[in-house]
Symmetry: C2
């Protein structure tokens, strides 16, 4: 399991935006992200889970530097997309494990989530791909998160650094 | 914009599972995915968006062949993780665009979402990474989805195939 993971990354310069209560209909996602693209705002994680009664939330992260521009742009289309609210959270960090073919390795995501759980670190959002498993967590816990994940996936490295004369 | 995308993929052999109403606390995600890993069930997209009042939903996809095993395993831990429900949907397909460095290209995701919207195809779930933007849609619309996305990102190819004698 451990060898599939080649690295751990942490990004504390992200802000999370969530557009809540939008109609779950064609065109909504296009409007949201088209609006951001028109302002040349790059979006990192886009996460949309299942709807409830034809209503959904669309969450995503942007660079902290782009947060104000993004919010301003989205406010302009808020009524058009019939959103209940546009929420944001700057107190987040994205912690990821990177590897090859992780999807075919059941247990890698579970091990990452266990590592965070061991550190009492709550997982706010999750997005995965074959080469990257990312969790959004509390920014203040980012360094601890990297450490606990490192202990799980690179235990021999930790053993070496503990040797003192 | 168009050149960043190297391909379009469609997978009609996935089933979506959603575990709803779980406490948004450390250990929950680890329990869910540890349970699946113990049965050697591979998980594809894991999507968890923001919580509401300390409660969250965790959605993910598995291969259709693994659906029954996955549901059986999750039922056993349902009360331990205090889930309201374990839902599933087999009528889904995952449609993705694949490329390099797509996160730094605002507008690629928007173009994909627009393509689907043009085809009146509702986007049920979204998960993204730098090299892959994936949408879960209605299975019956998978082929149409690939076609509309292809028209947007590879227009010259479509032009060629429309020539008839
Ligand atoms: C919510 C949003 O993703 C909507 N379902 C759409 O297709 O655009
Ligand atoms: C909901 C689940 O992701 C929870 N927040 C956890 O950390 O495990």
């Amino acid at each position: 399991n451990m060898r599939a993971v080649s690295g751990i990354a942490s990004d504390e310069n992200q802000a999370r935006i969530a557009i809540t209560g939008v109609p779950d209909q064609p065109g909504v996602a296009a409007k949201i992200f088209g609006t951001l693209a028109n302002r040349n705002i790059s979006v990192d994680m886009i996460i949309q889970s299942l709807n409830k009664q034809e209503i959904n939330d669309v969450a995503f992260t942007v660079s902290s530097n782009d947060l104000n521009d993004a919010l301003e742009a989205l406010e302009k289309v808020k009524s058009e997309i019939q959103a209940d609210a546009i929420l944001h959270d700057t107190s987040v960090a994205k912690v990821s494990i990177v590897g090859i073919g992780m999807i075919d390795r059941p247990g890698i995501a579970a091990d990452m989530f266990s590592a965070l759980s061991e550190g009492q670190i709550n997982i706010k959002m999750i997005a995965t791909s074959e080469i990257k498993i990312s969790c959004l967590i509390e920014k203040a816990q980012a360094k601890q998160a990297v450490q606990t994940i490192h202990n799980v996936f690179f235990p021999e490295a930790c053993g070496a650094t503990l040797v003192t004369d």
